[in-house]
Amino acid sequence: MNKTDALIIGAGPTGLFTAHQLKLIGLNCEVIDNLDKIGGQCIELYPDKPIYDIPAIPECTGEELTKNLINQLKPFDIKFHLNERVDEVKKEGDNWIVKTSYDKIFSTPNVIIAGGVGSFEPRKFSVKECEKFENKSIFYSIRDKKIFEKKIVTIFGGGDSALDWAVELSNNSNVNLVHRRDDFRGAQATVDRVHELVKNGKINLYTKFQISSIKGEDHLESVEIKSEDKELKTLKTDYLLGFFGLIMQLGPIANWGLNIDKKTIEVDTEKFQTNHKGIYAVGDICTYPGKLKLILSGFHEGALAARACFKLARPNEKYRFEFTTSSKTLKDRLGVKSD
């Protein structure tokens, strides 16, 4: 059991700055995220896209913003739990007991949900029968590429994941690559490599086609693809791989008894607390009258929620407001010299 003053769900910009604020006022915190890296939407959806409305930073990309936020956390010791999804939250005395998908258990008086628009899950094939073969012969990510050796693998998608795997698997497998249009959005070098492999007969390319149906009783036998002009083709295949990017789903948070309005959680604007004492929501996932889904709003919300956490984590102490420019205590925590 991990005991902490505050548990942050979500390692996007809001979660990161909230961690900074908690540590600055002298509280411990740990951070959980479903993705395998820190940064949330900024890293997953737009690492290269410039952002122009972070105060005092005229222009920076999602990746730069994340790097700077991580840098800002350097003075502090914060434990990150990546690749973990929070599944369960329940009250026990004054604390919340939080359980993750890999059975890690946390006990904390404060849970701060900084979950953006929920957790990222792979987009799946639209054909319903595909569920039957999921994780058997239909995959949305690859853990063990050996299973594809000497087999026929049909890959769907036009981004880097689809192209990288098409190139990689073409070494030892028979690869079909299916994409809905002629253009690919992967890195140019990979796109060129794919076209070369197509020319050499190492990859069978079907563009302007999408999945239409699959066949197979006990095991997958074939996939039928359909063109924009309704032309049908049947491809014999052992495996299907779908790389259509990630979608955001509220996931288990929806079942925690919080007041939810259109996938967002209702909070007050003093503590950013939900309808449960000690559970807060900050950033894109929270809603209140006048809410703006801007990163800067998330920073403000996290700063206030952190102060609210202090009361529950240190019931016998009084929180005192201080500036980093002048407070010796804060400078000590930041590891910088006082004048």
Partner: protein, 106 residues
């Protein structure tokens, strides 16, 4: 105000008046038209405000940016007349624009 007509997958018609300058996505969300999720809030980062544009309107719309076509790769059952509704800004020229909402967004 400009009239926009949304037709859901169940063939339900929602006619809404939207202020010029807003996007088709915002028109749907503000008027509680079901089936437009718009998870990312209009950032062209999620493909959950996917719509099918009525053929006769297709060439009257502003052209797609590269990023929009990239995101449409990830939409649920994209077609030739697929667009992201957050990328269509409403003006007088679009009065009567008719769009179909897919059965799902994800």
């Amino acid at each position: 105000m400009t009239k926009i007509i949304f037709i859901t997958h169940e063939n339900q018609k929602h006619t809404v008046d939207v202020q010029n300058g807003l996007t088709v996505m915002e028109g749907a969300v503000q008027n509680d038209v079901p089936g437009i999720d718009a998870d990312c809030g209009g950032g062209m980062a999620c493909a959950t405000c996917h719509i099918y544009v009525n053929e006769e309107w297709l060439d009257k719309l502003p052209l797609k940016e590269d990023g929009e076509e990239d995101m449409l790769d990830m939409a649920f059952e994209p077609k030739k007349n697929s667009r992201l509704s957050c990328q269509i800004t409403i003006s007088d020229d679009l009065d009567g624009l008719t769009v179909n909402i897919p059965s799902k967004q994800t």
